[in-house]
C-alpha cells in the first residue's frame, strides 16, 4: 500500500509551504547530509548546558541526536510533511548546538533558523520572517558597510510589492550571493556549510511561478525530443508546453523563420526567448537546484567550491547572455545532429 505522504525530493508543489520554501528546506537537508554534518554532530562533545549531566552518557546522547537528525533529514527529503520535518531537523540541530560548547560549526544556527522560519511561514504571501532573518544575518557588532547595505535591502524586500521592493530583492539576492562567496574565501573551508545555507536561503526572495508557459517549434523534432527530456525532470508539472502557432499570442509568436528550432517562455507576464527561456526553465527546476547544491557540497577544495559558485552565478546572471545566446543559436542551428542522441534517451 502506498504511503500518501511519501514523495520525490524534486517535487516541491502541493506541500504546506510555498514551493520555494519547500525547496529551500530540502536543499538544506541535502547540504546537511552531503557535507557530513551528521557525523560531526556533538563531535567534539563538551557540555554546555550540562545535557546530559553525566559526561559518560555523552556518546549515547550523541548517537540519539544523530539518529534524530538523520530521520528528520530523510523525512524532509522524501515526504510531503515539509513543515513538520523542517521543525524536527531544526530542533535536532538546535539541541546539538546548545548541549555542546565545542560543537558550534558555522552555519548550523543559520540553517536551524532558516528551517524554523520556513516552517512557520504561511502558504501564501511574502515570507517576511525570512527577509528579517537575512537582515539579521548581516547585522552584528562588527558589521561592515556592505553588510549594512545588504541588511537594509533584505529588510526593504518586505515593502509592499512595487518597484522599491523589486530593487531591494534584486540587491539582496545578488549582493548576498556575491558577498557570501567573498566571505567563504576570506574565512576558509570550515565555513562551507554556512556558505551553502546562506546561498540556499536566497530562494526566499524569489517568487515562484505557478506555471511557466513554454512555446516551442511544434514542427521541430529536436524541440519535441527536448520537451520529452525536460518533462522527465518537471515533477510538479510546472511547464505548460504549447507548440508555437497553436494558441500563442500574436505579438509573442516569432516569425516562422525565427520560430524554427527556438524556444520561448512566459512567466508571470515576462516573455523570454532562446537562451533566456532555457535559463528561466532550468532555474525553476528543483532537480537543477539539487544538482547544483550537491556539486557545491561535494566540491573537494575551497577553490573548487568557489569556482563552481562563480560559474553558477555567471550563468544565472545577465552577464552570461553574451555567451549564452550565441551558444543557444549554435545548438539550434545544428539541432539535427543532436536528435539521434536525444531520441536514444527516450
Amino acid at each position: 500500500m502506498a504511503f500518501p505522504a511519501l514523495t520525490a525530493p524534486f517535487r516541491v508543489a502541493n506541500t504546506a509551504l510555498p514551493p520555494q520554501l519547500a525547496l529551500l528546506c530540502r536543499l538544506l537537508a541535502l547540504a546537511f547530509l552531503a557535507t557530513g554534518q551528521l557525523a560531526l554532530i556533538q563531535s567534539p562533545y563538551l557540555p554546555y548546558l550540562d545535557i546530559p549531566a553525566d559526561p559518560q552518557s555523552g556518546p549515547w546522547f550523541q548517537r540519539a541526536l544523530q539518529l534524530w537528525a538523520l530521520l528528520a533529514a530523510i523525512g524532509l527529503l522524501f515526504t510531503t510533511r515539509v513543515r513538520t520535518f523542517a521543525l524536527l531537523l531544526a530542533a535536532a540541530i538546535a539541541a546539538a548546538h546548545l548541549a555542546s560548547r565545542a560543537y558550534q560549526p558555522p552555519g548550523l544556527a543559520l540553517a536551524a533558523s532558516l528551517l524554523t522560519l520556513s516552517a512557520l511561514s504561511a502558504q501564501n504571501g511574502a515570507p517576511r520572517l525570512l527577509f528579517a532573518q537575512y537582515a539579521l544575518l548581516y547585522m552584528h557588532p562588527a558589521s561592515r558597510p556592505v553588510e549594512w547595505i545588504l541588511a537594509a535591502s533584505a529588510a526593504a524586500a518586505s515593502l509592499p510589492a512595487g518597484r522599491a521592493a523589486t530593487i531591494a530583492q534584486t540587491l539582496a539576492v545578488w549582493g548576498s550571493a556575491i558577498y557570501q562567496c567573498f566571505l567563504l574565501y576570506e574565512t576558509g573551508p570550515d565555513n562551507g556549510f554556512h556558505f551553502l545555507s546562506a546561498q540556499a536561503g536566497l530562494l526566499t526572495f524569489l517568487p515562484w511561478p505557478k506555471t511557466i508557459a513554454v512555446f516551442y517549434d511544434g514542427a521541430c523534432g529536436f524541440c519535441a525530443a527536448s520537451r520529452r527530456l525536460a518533462s522527465r525532470f518537471d515533477f510538479d508539472g510546472l511547464f505548460d508546453w504549447r507548440a508555437q502557432h497553436s494558441g500563442a499570442p500574436a505579438d509573442f509568436c516569432p516569425a516562422p523563420s525565427q520560430a524554427r528550432g527556438s524556444l520561448a517562455t512566459e512567466t508571470a507576464g515576462h516573455i523570454r526567448r532562446g537562451y533566456l527561456a532555457w535559463r528561466d526553465m532550468t532555474a525553476h527546476l528543483p532537480a537543477a537546484g539539487f544538482a547544483a547544491m550537491l556539486a557545491l557540497a561535494l566540491a573537494p577544495t575551497l577553490q573548487a567550491r568557489l569556482a563552481l559558485a562563480a560559474v553558477l552565478l555567471f550563468v544565472l546572471s545577465p552577464l552570461s547572455n553574451f555567451i549564452g545566446e550565441p551558444f543557444y543559436r549554435l545548438i539550434a542551428r545544428h539541432r539535427h545532429k543532436f536528435l539521434p542522441a536525444l531520441n536514444s534517451n527516450q
Binding site: 567534539p44 562533545y45 563538551l46 557540555p47 554546555y48 559526561p55 560548547r101 565545542a102 558550534q104 558555522p106 552555519g107 544556527a109 543559520l110 533558523s113 524554523t116 522560519l117 512557520l120 511561514s121 504561511a122 520572517l129 528579517a132 532573518q133 539579521l136 544575518l137 548581516y138 547585522m139 552584528h140 557588532p141 562588527a142 566571505l183 576570506e186 574565512t187 576558509g188 570550515d190 565555513n191 554556512h194
Partner: protein
C-alpha cells in the same frame, strides 16, 4: 497563523539578542586567534594529547573566533573535568596577527 507569526518573531528577537551580545554567531567569525596552551593539574603538566582530549582543541593552533570563546571553552572544560580546582592553565595568544597577550586560569 498568528501563533506561528508570534513564534517566528520570538525566535528573531532571541537571535537578535544572541547576535548583539556575541553569544550566537550567525555569521562566520572573521577573527583568527593564534594560541598556545599550557596546562597542569596539581603539580603534573598535561601532554599535548591530554590537552587535546580535554579541550577538544590542539594544544597549539589557530582558533576561528574571538579569544573570549576560546577561554570560555577552556573554562567549561575545567568546570566539567576538574572538580577540585587544582588545574592551572596558561594561554599565549595573538588576535589577527596583533601583539602577543596572555591569559591564565584561574584568573
Amino acid at each position: 497563523m498568528r501563533l506561528r507569526l508570534a513564534a517566528g518573531l520570538c525566535l528573531l528577537a532571541f537571535e537578535a539578542f544572541g547576535v548583539f551580545t556575541a553569544r550566537l554567531p550567525l555569521a562566520p567569525s572573521r577573527t583568527r586567534t593564534r594560541y598556545v596552551i599550557g596546562a597542569a593539574v596539581g603539580t603534573e603538566g598535561l601532554t599535548e594529547d591530554q590537552m587535546e582530549r580535554r579541550y577538544r582543541l590542539p594544544a597549539e593552533g589557530v582558533f576561528a573566533g574571538e579569544p573570549a570563546a576560546l577561554f570560555d571553552r577552556i573554562e567549561r572544560a575545567e568546570a566539567a573535568f576538574e572538580k577540585y580546582g587544582r588545574s592551572r592553565v596558561y594561554v599565549r595568544y595573538a588576535v589577527d596577527g596583533g601583539p602577543e597577550q596572555q591569559w591564565r586560569f584561574p584568573h
